[in-house]
């Protein structure tokens, strides 16, 4: 079995980890009763440069966990550190970039203007800004669309703009909340290939929330499988598909990829015999 306890990750011990989640719970107050426990004593460590996916059925608290790491919400108990700092300080220091399920572009700004936004808000000079924006637009392959407005772009293109924006300040941590959730399957796979390429170039650690099994397995170094009510980590799967720079389209046909798929799926379905031989079941493609 290639399932490891969160703290046993070898990379995490050698350097300051990118994210350390320690015994975190989040209880949402309800009108009556004890409230809803979205997360129940969750612990997780993400190493620098590591790609970790959070997967689970709706209500398992995967998005809540991401929001807590981003300091968009506060844990009821437990602590979260990002690069050794409290999450709040990391947010103020702009240690992470974030992308949401909705692209969340400003409709009155052009593609270039949207990517420029964080740089502009943080007071970077005009010349430096322009150079960085040109780089980022190139990176996400939208050079011909710099002067377009968001409503002139397809959903996939808008999401690429949002990813470029999240990368604007070269963060060492990227937080992504189902960024490809609203895209069709073909666009989604193309975006995944691009994300793998971008991650290989930027070497940023990524926490990636998804409910697609192939997406999680294809992208990740480790897949965190969560269970709902209350949100807990059921298990962590070490996918072991190798370095980001070597991941290409042919990986989707690879035997290890299929093994990862069935492992994650068995865990999601609460099957205790998660380590049994691969291929015993038909493989979902989505």
């Amino acid at each position: 079995m290639s399932i490891t306890a969160p703290t046993n990750n070898p990379d995490a011990r050698t350097t300051t980890s990118a994210v350390t989640v320690d015994g975190v719970s989040r209880v949402f107050a309800a009108r009556k009763g004890d409230g809803v426990t979205a997360l129940d004593s969750v612990s997780l460590t993400v190493a620098p440069g590591e790609f970790v996916s959070l997967i689970g059925p709706s209500g398992c608290g995967k998005s809540t966990l991401l929001r807590l790491i981003a300091d968009l919400d506060m844990p009821t108990s437990g602590s979260i550190e990002v690069f050794g700092k409290p999450a709040r300080q990391a947010r103020i220091d702009q240690d992470y970039g974030i992308a949401f399920q909705q692209a969340g572009l400003l409709p009155w700004r052009t593609v270039a203007g949207n990517i420029e936004l964080p740089l502009e808000l943080h007071g970077l000079g005009k010349v430096a800004r322009r150079a960085r924006v040109a780089e980022l637009i190139e990176l996400v392959g939208l050079s011909d669309f710099a002067r377009h407005y968001p409503d002139q772009l397809s959903g996939g293109m808008q999401q690429r703009v949002a990813i470029a924006r999240s990368l604007a300040e070269s963060p060492s941590l990227l937080l992504m909340d189902e960024p490809f959730g609203a895209l069709d399957e073909m666009t989604r796979e193309r975006m995944q290939n691009e994300l793998v390429r971008i991650c290989a170039e930027t070497k940023a650690a990524v926490v990636f929330v998804t409910h697609s099994i192939p997406e999680a397995v294809f992208l990740s170094d480790r897949v965190v499988v969560m269970s709902p009510r209350p949100g807990r980590i059921r298990s962590i799967v070490d996918v072991g598909l190798g370095d980001m720079s070597n991941r290409g389209e042919d990986l989707r046909e690879d035997e290890n990829f299929f093994r990862g798929l069935s492992q994650v799926r068995d865990l999601l379905h609460g099957d205790e015999s998660a380590g049994r031989p691969p291929g015993a079941r038909g493989v979902e493609t989505r």
Binding site: R67, R91, G104, L106, L121
Partner: protein
């Protein structure tokens, strides 16, 4: 501008042709059935009255238009300001809701006689205030609505950028609200003219369009009364188009 030719035909020529047809039909009916001028004057006689009294009509437009403009600017300024305060201070918002609600159901021109006694029947102040009050309501409601349109994802984004609330307001809240503010202003621009004009019916100094319409009708000069009505329509259109023009100018977005 690829389809400039057919668009020009549709947007400019078609209404002109339609308008000309209506005027000709009107003229034909009035002469054909020998309709008396106090019931409905013929468009050509209105036209000739308009042309021969051009100076008087223009003066009337200037007086009424001036009152409407002062009212529009004052009402819009106060409306936008109070909407911003309401969106920032919850208590103020709760206090303002019943007051503004009550204000919106008051037939505001009905306040004109009261205001004339307050500010003196020789001054234009009462008319300007009536226009300002009429303008305030739609501007306030639309601006407040616009200020509350910031989507959760934009709010999250601004929080993730750890920017000051003023920066977030400038980057997201105000641009989001802007189209709503302009919707309010567009409605208000016509209301300002109508209110300033109707307020003249209740007293105050002479010279405006409203007073001129009533005095021309009272002296059985129906063609002239209708010429002033034509002046009022033109004034209203000028205000509406100006508001539309400013909106187009500020929101430079294509499409």
């Amino acid at each position: 501008m690829r389809d400039a030719q057919p668009r020009l035909l549709q947007t400019v020529l078609a209404p002109i042709l339609f308008g000309a047809a209506v005027i000709l039909l009107w003229q034909g009916l009035v002469t054909g059935f020998a309709i008396k001028a106090f019931i409905l004057p013929a468009p050509f006689s209105i036209g000739s009255e308009f042309a021969s009294n051009l100076q008087n009509v223009a003066d009337g437009m200037l007086v009424t238009g001036g009152n409407a403009l002062v009212g529009l600017l004052l009402g819009a300024f106060v409306g936008i300001l109070l909407a911003i305060v309401s969106s920032l201070v919850r208590v103020f918002d709760q206090m303002a809701v019943p007051v503004v609600g009550a204000l919106s159901v008051v037939p505001i021109v009905a306040l004109a006689p009261v205001l004339y006694t307050m500010f003196g029947a020789g001054a234009e102040t009462a008319r300007q205030l009536v226009a300002a009050l009429a303008v305030f309501v739609p501007v306030y409601f639309n601006t407040l609505k616009g200020l509350r349109q910031v989507s959760p994802v934009h709010r999250d984004l601004m929080r993730s950028y750890a920017v000051s609330s003023w920066q977030a307001t400038r980057a997201v809240t105000l641009p989001t609200a802007l189209p709503f503010v302009f919707t309010g202003l567009r409605i208000a621009s016509s209301l300002a003219v109508i209110s300033a004009l109707i307020a003249e019916y209740f007293g105050g100094p002479v010279g405006g369009l409203g007073k001129s319409i009533t005095s021309a009708a009272a002296s059985s000069n129906y063609g002239l009364a209708w010429a002033y009505v034509l002046g009022s329509i033109i004034l209203g259109l000028v205000f509406f188009c100006a508001a539309l023009g400013v909106e187009k100018l500020i929101s430079r977005r294509p499409g």
